[in-house]
Amino acid sequence: MNWQALVPLIGILLIIFAVGVWAGKSLRSSTSFLQDYFLGGRSMGGFLLAMTMTATYGSASSFIGGPGTAYTQGLGWVLLAMTQVATGYFVLMILGKKFAIVTRRYNALTLVDFLKERYQSKWVVLLSAISIIIFLFSAMAAQWIGGARLIESLTGISYTSALFIFALSVLIYVTVGGFRAVALTDAIQGSIMFVGTLILLIAVIIAGGGITSIITDLRVENPNLITPFGAEGTLTPAYVSSFWLLVGVGVVALPQIAVRAMSYKNSRSMHRAIIIGTVVVGVIMLNMHLIGVFARPILPGIEVGDKVMPLIALEVMPAWLAGIVLAAPMAAIMSTVDSLLLLVSSTLVKDIYLNYVQPNASNERVKRLSFGITALLGIFVFIMALDPPNLIIWLNLFAFGGLEAAFIWPIVMGLYWKKGNKYGALASMVSGVALYILSDQFFPQPFGMHSVVLPVFISFVFYVVVSMMTDRKLSANL
């Protein structure tokens, strides 16, 4: 067991834990429990907002394999990862002020609340709640597995005990602290990622004898590693560009991102968050993936992509520093998990229970139910992650693309196009998700693009055409 690396890591977990408990205190005295627990009372300032968004974007990049894939593919994968810089400004500019005004008017606390008020349709609500629960639950389970593997490889304890430690620390602070605890810890974790990847990149460059010598080594090994086309020349411009949709602009439609876009205090915090977010996302993405590429000449022959970061950190830095820096990927995983957990629980409590099961539940009952369901979900994920069923792994592959295909038009057009109606929204959600899964199974990479691209375009057509066709019918009925 590597104690020198482990102590700083545990220290950081303890700090995060303390923040959760502290944030929970202010929750206990709160008068509007739901808004505080699931949305932090709409009080996020600029820095906090930028950091919590950045830390949550991290999930999109672990989705595309991050530094491990950069290690195998070379600079072409860094190029692909840089499509994420757009999320830093695009999401807040598009959802932006309109979303903030409208969700306040609707008094919406979740994405589903917004869709419910906008489309006034039970089916839209149920369908979106179900897609959130299924896709995000699987995404969450996959992240827990990753978190436990990281602890396992760092400490040498068994997978089950690692999973237990991970689950316990996440559960405690999410359950007691709610959204504010999640946002605060996201801010700590985002800062760790920012500083940690910067230090590690510098250490890697020094260990490799400077950038020029690293690039020369890469070129000698395989000239393709320094082209935009990937190690085997398989990364075509069309394929790489389609990631602008998947991890760039499409991120607008991820519920865990959208909910953050309604949590901020005022215009000024939004403006600050756009600037800070762009810089922080860009720096983290560039550093993290460059580390992956530059690690290759220093430590050749790593087989498992997820091990690149821990191994290179332990190689080029003193153990205690490696421990602090390795808190970064750990932080990334935790901050994804905590927001997903909270979101799935808010969907169950707020969107399903309060809408359709028991609309008049008392504040006290809702409070107990929220804590209970969050904890219960956590335990359920823990059991899943112990011996992950294949279905979960399969669903996780579709999680981000699926949510984007489902929600992008109902959200964006719902905000900016008055004529969009519930029929259009339903048609677009169903066609988006179904086409995405079908296309991925039977027709991967149509026209050389990622399989999410076409369904998103087709579901746009569905949204517009069906809305226009039913528009006449709706107004004829009036």
Binding site: V85, F90, M93, K98, I101, T227, P228, P237, L286
Partner: protein, 88 residues
């Protein structure tokens, strides 16, 4: 009600600015990456040790976007209230 319209006008304009920025960002990123990177690796030129396509597309491109976003937000984004007037 009129005030509401004004706020939405601001929100719509800023969303369009966001779309414009993304298009610019994409063209810059794509142009340098595939414009300069499609040569044979032997013919590459280097900036600070990095292949020129990568430096201009990913490193400089990011710096340009960060500056552009800062300028746009500071110059063109308007602070508006989100609440529906004094009810709270």
């Amino acid at each position: 009600m009129r005030e509401k319209e004004e706020q939405f006008k601001v929100a719509h304009r800023e969303a369009l600015i966001g779309v414009g920025l993304v298009i610019f960002n994409f063209i810059w990123w794509y142009g340098f990456a595939y414009g300069m990177g499609s040569k044979k690796p032997e013919e590459y030129t280097y900036v600070f040790g990095l292949p020129a396509w990568f430096f201009y597309s990913c490193v400089l491109g990011f710096i340009v976007m960060a500056i552009l976003v800062t300028v746009v937000v500071k110059k063109f984004f308007v602070e508006i209230p989100f609440e529906e007037e004094p009810e709270k």
